[in-house]
Amino acid sequence: MARRKPKLAVWKFSSCDGCQLSLLDCEDELLAVAESVEIAYFLEATRVEIAGPYDLSLVEGSIGTPHDAQRIKEIRRKSKRLVTIGACATAGGIQALRNFRDVDGFIRAVYARPDYIDTLATSTAIQDHVTVDFELRGCPIDKGQLLEVLNAFLNGRRPVVPPHSQCLDCKLHGNVCIMVADGTPCLGPVTQAGCGALCPAHARGCYGCFGPKETPNTAALAKQLAALGCDARTIAESFRSFNANAKAFREEGDRWEAPAKQGLKP
């Protein structure tokens, strides 16, 4: 059954390139990927640029400049399917920390010629600007999940990327819960699974790289973190990382940030 190879494009916005490199990191499967799709635009891999429209666009990075905001609209227009990859594209990324501060102040403090800098006051997710067909979470994304999304796309089915908690995967892997057995703070109960519970398997609390799970009860977890001895500042900061601008994490961070400044509990 010869089918026309779907045209794949990989786009970059404000990001570190780590997520698109996950595609090149699929060593064993890379040849099969290259045989299954026509790589039409992927600057990390090839300088060849084939014009659109594209069957599938993978978009990495957040919208941080007026130019970004324009460009994503064009990409959306020439993409049949658009999948965002990574915390930058799905939540604004670590650079969304500026959303909580005075950007002009940063620019004046950091750059010798502030007038050269053309930036938006916020870093936001791609879905805040255009319609997105599927969001693949993670900082960085998991290459197994990326292959799953490509597989699902090529075979016309739904990707198996469940939105349940990190804890569920942690238990499937047979890990001992470090929060219960060691009192180590862990964001696993409010974080979407995806990495295979990597950190808890190495005695580190989950950092929340895959963003909020479905129906996260961040308030209840924050209360438990306080019971384990975390102060307001630590709790606020734990929600202010790669997915700081994802709604549930942003709101929980907000709740703890004001009291943190005064050294109080909310």
Partner: protein, 397 residues
Amino acid sequence: MKRTVQESGVSHQRRAVIERDAVQALIDALGAEGYAVIGPRRRDGAIVYDPLTDAADLPWGWIDEQEGGRYRLHRDDRGAAFGHVVGPQSWKKYLYPPRQTLWTGRREGGGFTVETPQGPPPRYAFLGVRGCELAAIAVQDRVFGVVRHDGRSVGQQQYTDSGYAARRAAAFIVAVNCGRAAGTCFCDSIGTGPQAGPGYDLCLTELIGDGRHEFLVEAGSDRGAVLLDRLPARHAEGADLEAAAAVTEAARAGMGRRMEPDVAGLLARNLEHPRWDEVAGRCLSCANCTMVCPTCFCTTVEDTTDLTGDHVERWRRWDSCFTVDFSYIHGGSIRQGGASRYRQWMTHKLSSWYEQFGTSGCTGCGRCITWCPVGIDITEEARAIRASEGGASDGAD
């Protein structure tokens, strides 16, 4: 249970006492029978169930302190092998693994072929199965259609889960009578422990004190009796049986929690109750309770394809009524909020399970309390609902 003795012509002892060091002989005898011995081992700050070949692998002298959302191991100078109680894992991990391949398919020409996993089941010997765990295995025997029951779930009785049934039939069970209970244990009020049984091949009671460290070994099956015959042992005297009875009595006296009596009826008449919203405020919907519960059986089905679409696999993996996807039907999920999910979990374990399988779905192991990251306590939730009815917590009904 009348069998053995004359049939085989060997005088099988049903009961004997072995020395501390004979645990190695037991492990070796099981290994010689072709069993992969699985037992308690200390790993990452907890006692887990892993393969073991050496008696020294057992957690001699380690006991667990357990409370809601808290678990810690401590040294204990009695030096018992089974001084701990149950940890985060259960035997479900082996009898009903978290991920199982249901079938694989391959495109061939215009058609396709389907294969199901073949081969003999693994032969496990479980060393250290507690009363609550033996009861949990018996519950899953009903769920997976290995044992008939008078519950309503006709489907499960008609269609045996062949994978579970094969692993279950191949397993050799060495039970242990608990000598202490954890703060989260409540088997006594459910009636599943601390004394183990029935359903074991062998049962150990660890006897420590007065300068001795021995085990009373009781056989509960023919193959158990045959194995016991091979161990270096002495006769069990009346004093040994008395000492063993004192061991389980100590566990009974130290039981950390208890379940309300007639909890099935209590919950059935309180499906609308403000407590469900109250607990939802604390519950993370993280699913830990269902993962650690030795009777929870729910799974989902996941399909994978390769890039060419020529090879497909269908997997079954543990799922939980705490996820949104679990109750997804056309148009959306039925259980959107935490209240309905917690209610599903608790009423299923303690109430509707009776209708479905003719037994409680809870065996009082306490895992869901200990391993809930925020320490939500199924016994406390039952008590709160009871208290709201104005009844004393002692529950006179």
